[in-house]
């Protein structure tokens, strides 16, 4: 009986801990995802070049607004999905502002100005934006929509976290080492 009680308590603790994973707020009360990364022996110029390549590789989702020799400012969009098990559909998009600043051997990046734009199914069965005016993700909403809004915030955080990890992985990758195309292996069944 005690065992069961402890199990239940620990389950709820884990659930609560999982729920706590959410955006921090900046000085202006806006949601922010902020990371400082030690890039070890990579120069400032190389970090910026890799960051530009990262944006260029996702040109449909991210567009550079300004770029200097030590920073990049860009605007982007992440699609929010409504998923149950393996099926689902897009339920909206979150637009954001991305800033990357580099120094020798370290860089920082942050995403902020998150705005949610809901999608609705159109006459052809495709999900499209209902409006062009987004709702700030940190906005407090009324009771009727609280549950849904919290889900959107949680999904947005998960998407942003994944985006941040992919950015870090890309900036850590050495582009100068070109992948060599492996010749396709030929298997002969004539002799054995």
């Amino acid at each position: 009986m005690r065992y069961t009680f402890l199990l239940i308590i620990s389950f709820f603790s884990i659930t609560l801990f999982a729920q706590q994973k959410q955006f921090a707020t900046d000085d202006n009360g806006k949601f922010i995802y902020y990371k400082v990364v030690d890039s070890q022996k990579v120069s400032k110029a190389m970090i910026i070049q890799r960051a530009k390549n990262f944006v260029a590789a996702q040109k449909k989702a991210i567009k550079i607004v300004t770029a200097t020799d030590s920073s990049i400012s860009a605007k982007g969009t992440l699609i929010i999905d409504k998923t149950v098990l393996v099926v689902g559909h897009p339920s909206g998009e979150v637009t954001y502002h991305l800033t990357i600043e580099a120094r020798n051997e370290k860089y920082r990046f942050w995403l902020t100005d998150f705005e949610f734009i809901p999608y609705q199914r159109d006459r052809y069965g495709n999900f499209v934006a209902v409006t062009t005016i987004g709702t700030p993700l940190e906005k407090k909403v009324d009771k009727l929509t609280t549950g849904q809004w919290k889900d959107i915030q949680a999904t947005a955080y998960a998407k942003v976290e994944k985006f941040g990890e992919s950015l870090k992985a890309y900036l850590a990758k050495d582009d100068s080492v070109k992948k060599q195309n492996k010749p396709v292996e030929t298997i002969s069944t004539k002799t054995w």
Binding site: V86, T131, T135
Partner: protein, 338 residues
Amino acid sequence: MKKFLTAIVAMASTTCALAQEAPTSPLEISGSVDTYFKYDFAKQPNIKTSFASDHNSVSLGMIDLVLKKRTGKASFVGELSFGPRGQSQSIPNAAEDVSSFHIQNLYVNYDFTDKFSMTAGYMGTFIGYEVISPVGNFNYSTSYLFTNGPFQNAGIKATYKFSDKVSLMAGLFNDWNVYTATRGVSSVGGQLMVSPVEGWTAYLNVLSGAGSGGYGTIEDLTTSYQISKAFKLGLNAANYDIDNDGGGYAGVALYPQFAVADAVTLGLRGEYFKYKEVAGVAGDKYTAVTFTANIKSGGLTFIPEVRLDHSGNKPFVKENGLAAPNAGQFSLAAVYAF
């Protein structure tokens, strides 16, 4: 012609080969269910526009199921609906006891490039502001323009996107609302989309060929403008002429909507509609005003609505069965989208 077809086939094959390298999206499943209660002030079904037709009854709309999948540049959409709204009430030639379901969309699409795509199959019409799915409309009852226009067009269409602000569609279609053409691929249609400023989109549509009542041409303007976070204005205007003085219709509807809270939006539909003269006999003219609220909680939307219609030709009835120039109704609908 042969060279042109060879070029198209070659281009398609090359693009197919490239498309195979593109990632596959998971199967999308979405849909909706809707139900309603309507009370007509004449205590009998009176206003003859589509859906919400039963008086003093908790009645069914439809269950709508949509499947979509994309593999590289190719995609399909299949949308099936079950229930009165998606069955006999949205197929003019369908008998309620014969058809058990209705296909709303069944088409395949191929994006040859980021700008150029082609679509073939049975598609929701590109004409008009309102649609069959209750999820796509703000008002639960429908306009005269919707009821008298096409619901679906089967055919093949090509769309070229010049930019995010301008695109052009042109296509060949069967006659309206049929899975199989009864008069051949007899219609030609086009749509010019322009978005002059952010939040404002306008569609100029033309469909000419076999339609309701004979061969004719519809010109249609459908536009909406999200003027501010809270205020949206929509407009639909259409003119349909059937050849050989076969009649047709013309009308205009305005759709102002104002969000008073995160979950509550109030809206109005004001419509003027007239049937055209046939063989010297003037058609009825209607004005209709519909007050609607949308109250949302998660996937659920409650839609209370009051509608008042007027026509000088007295096409409506009073409670005692006598002809009347005015009709009114109250309805409360619940629509769940998933």
